[in-house]
């Protein structure tokens, strides 16, 4: 016998209650997906890192520069194919409300090292040709409303003074998790305009083979251990992860909130199911009298709970996926490549199933175990 029409009819009896419960589950799964995506997006940031790239920084702290002479010495380390370097500029644009990262890079070697930074050939040539040219991410261009050829002035906080750059090139990241809001310019320009000699903030190495990373790191750090600028060499992934962990325990925070959200909505759905079941005590008894088995009645309640939570989950998870993809949400620039992954969706549906079981189980068991005589005694 097809019982689906009965389940649907039951759900339609309290239309408002069903609707509110479905929407409640939708909101909860939406929030759950959003919170989890913050974590997965932060982690994805370190996943974009190429396994065969390494970053060399000053052992004491990132803020200390490394000598320029290290470039040649790093090149001779076995396994290292290419070396590039960059510096953090840390300037302020306008009133400081629009924040973006600025790097001084050695243009040719840097762009060769990062094929993910895709620049049209003519713009690339224009950027390389001009000392004060800037290469700006597509996202930042849109956000700031800049156009190619425009002059942009940034006030240096580490390197004092007003710095004017001409935007000559725009890059598009070929991987979503790569920040499309960075501002890059020529290292030579920084060096030229600063009174004292500027030395690199960090070096990036391209390895012949990712497997060589531990040996290369050890060789480099040993070499410079007792110099005036000892180094810390690690994979690019570890370097990026270092920044993620600096936020603190985001994962724990997001997971705890996610749990609270799920429990809160469990209360709402379970309550709705219990109220529904209580109101139907009489008719469950009647169904039993006319020959419905305990198992069928158990199934009927569970099916109802399942239908409510899964519809809610489809709305909530689908809504999250479409909303974030449609608006290209990036956490106000803090979460580039924000994405609700397939894994998150799967876990979301798993949570919805658990919700269905947890909220339906007690009323379903009660319906299955109901004694006809007891129940009908209450029917007027």
């Amino acid at each position: 016998m097809n019982l689906l029409p009965l389940v649907l009819a039951n759900l339609r009896r309290h239309r408002l209650r069903t609707l509110l419960t479905v929407l409640g589950v939708a909101l909860a799964t939406f929030l759950f997906a959003s919170l989890r995506s913050v974590v997965t997006t932060l982690n994805a940031g370190s996943e974009v890192a190429s396994a065969s790239r390494m970053v060399v920084t000053h052992a004491t702290a990132l803020v200390f520069p490394l000598p320029m002479s290290y470039r040649e010495r790093l090149k001779t380390v076995p396994g290292v194919e290419a070396v590039t370097w960059a510096n953090w500029f840390g300037g302020q644009y306008g009133d400081g409300k629009l924040f973006f990262a600025q790097f001084a890079i050695d243009p040719e070697s840097y762009l060769a090292m990062y094929p993910e930074i895709s620049v049209p050939a003519d713009q690339r040539a224009a950027f390389l040709a001009e000392r004060s040219a800037a290469l700006v991410g597509k996202g930042l261009m849109e956000k700031a409303g800049w156009h190619l050829g425009q002059n942009v002035t940034i006030r240096g906080t580490i390197f004092p003074g007003d710095w004017t750059f001409t935007i000559r090139a725009v890059y598009t990241p070929t991987v979503r998790a790569l920040d499309d809001r960075s501002f890059m310019f020529q290292y030579a320009y920084l060096d030229e305009r600063t009174e004292h000699r500027v030395t690199p903030g960090w070096y990036v190495l391209q390895l012949r083979d990712a497997g060589l990373a531990p040996t290369v790191a050890q060789t480099i750090d040993e070499t410079f251990r007792n110099s005036s600028a000892p180094t810390k060499t690690g994979t690019e992934k570890a370097f990026n992860q270092g920044f993620v962990t600096m936020w603190g325990n985001v994962q724990f925070l997001m997971n705890s909130i996610g749990m609270a959200v799920v429990f809160a909505i469990l209360m709402v759905t379970a309550n709705a199911m219990m109220m529904t079941a209580r109101e139907r005590t009489g008719e469950v008894a009647v169904l039993k009298t006319i020959g419905f088995t305990d198992r069928t009645l158990f199934g009927l309640v569970m099916a109802e709970a399942g239908l409510v939570t899964l519809t809610g989950a489809v709305l909530g998870l689908g809504g999250a996926k479409l909303l974030y993809a449609g608006t290209a949400f990036n956490g106000f620039g803090m979460l580039p490549g924000f994405d609700v992954t397939a894994g998150t969706l799967a876990i979301g549906f798993g949570v919805a199933l658990l919700l269905a079981v947890a909220s339906g189980l007690v009323p379903a068991l009660r319906a299955a175990r109901l004694s006809i005589v007891q129940a009908l005694r209450h029917v007027e």
């Binding site: 408002l16 209650r17 509110l20 419960t21 929407l23 409640g24 909101l27 909860a28 939406f30 929030l31 919170l35 052992a59 004491t60 702290a61 990132l62 803020v63 200390f64 840390g90 302020q92 400081g96 006030r155 240096g156 906080t157 580490i158 004092p160 007792n226 005036s228 000892p230 810390k232 270092g242 962990t245 600096m246 936020w247 603190g248 325990n249 925070l253 705890s256 909130i257 609270a260 959200v261 429990f263 809160a264 909505i265 209360m267 709402v268 379970a270 309550n271 709705a272 219990m274 109220m275 109101e279 803090m334």
Partner: protein
Amino acid sequence: MIPFAYNLRSIAQRPVSTTMTALGVALVVAVFVAMLALAHGFRAALVKTGSPDNVIVLRRGADSEMSSGLSRDNARLIATDPRIASGVDGRPLVSPEVYVVINVPRVVGAGLSNVVARGVNAEAFTVRHTHLVAGRWFQSGRSEIVVGKKVAPRFAHTAIGDTLRFANRDWVVVGQFEAGGSALESEIWGENEQFMPVFRGDVFQSVIFRLRDPAAFDDVKRALEGDQRLQVQVQRESAFYAGQSTILTGVLTALAMMITSIMAVGAVFGAVNTMYAAVSSRTPEIAVLLTLGFPPRSVLASFLAESALIAILGGVAGGLLALPINGIVTSTTNWNSFSEVSFAFRVTPDLLLGGVVFALVMGLVGGFFPAWRAARLQVVQALR
């Protein structure tokens, strides 16, 4: 008015449904209180770091101590300002400071973290309102350091007697200080003259001094910023640190509001369901009340009160759920100084009250339509 006892007894009649609805609200309030306690804690740690009678001088254009730099000449010149307070020994309460961020290995979880290493002089402990909790202060001319009391539990080699190696030198930890829960407790302090040569050379990052009269701040600011020999910016220390907390506190507060308002909608749905069920199962009772002469207004008020009561129970429970996190220490990065700051969650009475008010709003919103329906019941139909 319909007696409130009627509502109390009605609620007691359906304990499961009441508990579940209240718990739904409670969880929303718990998240609300917990997230704001996080934001408050961070803000409090930074605000406490600065004192309103202290002044911090940075190089003009620098947005933090990290990007600042002041020469010895500048520091000496600033120290001569007559508005600077004197200590008990008659020396001016000025601390020219070296500021660097160093990598220190964590105890919990592998890896390194950024910790502030601050080079100070003997006056700094007075100027900065810090007190020793163990050991002694470092001695001038020695490779000795003292650490904030939140440093030792989190970082390796930072207990008293340990040797911490940084900047190619070994430093002996000789003491531990507290600073009223402020961000300074996450710092490592040594003598400025010792830190200078091993870090950034002959330059201070900031000069901090105590004002003889806090009201003289504007005068000092005008004098120092107008001095052609100096290229500096002058801020009240309290404003400087409060400014560093605004972005992260803002982000956390916005996040808390966003998450809890979405959750609140879910909880309101729960309240609506519960109250509609309550109204429909009590239809005959409502009819009796109306027949007895209670105006619809009273019925409306009575059901609203019932919904509000359930929500407030939830609000109180939520506050209690969130209470144990008060004082738990966590850490994040102060992106202005690029260093790790430890701080404690702060559940304040205001926050708890806010949570209960939030719950009350959820209850009133959720109860309104069901109560409206109850008030508009037709007696004849209801009694049929």
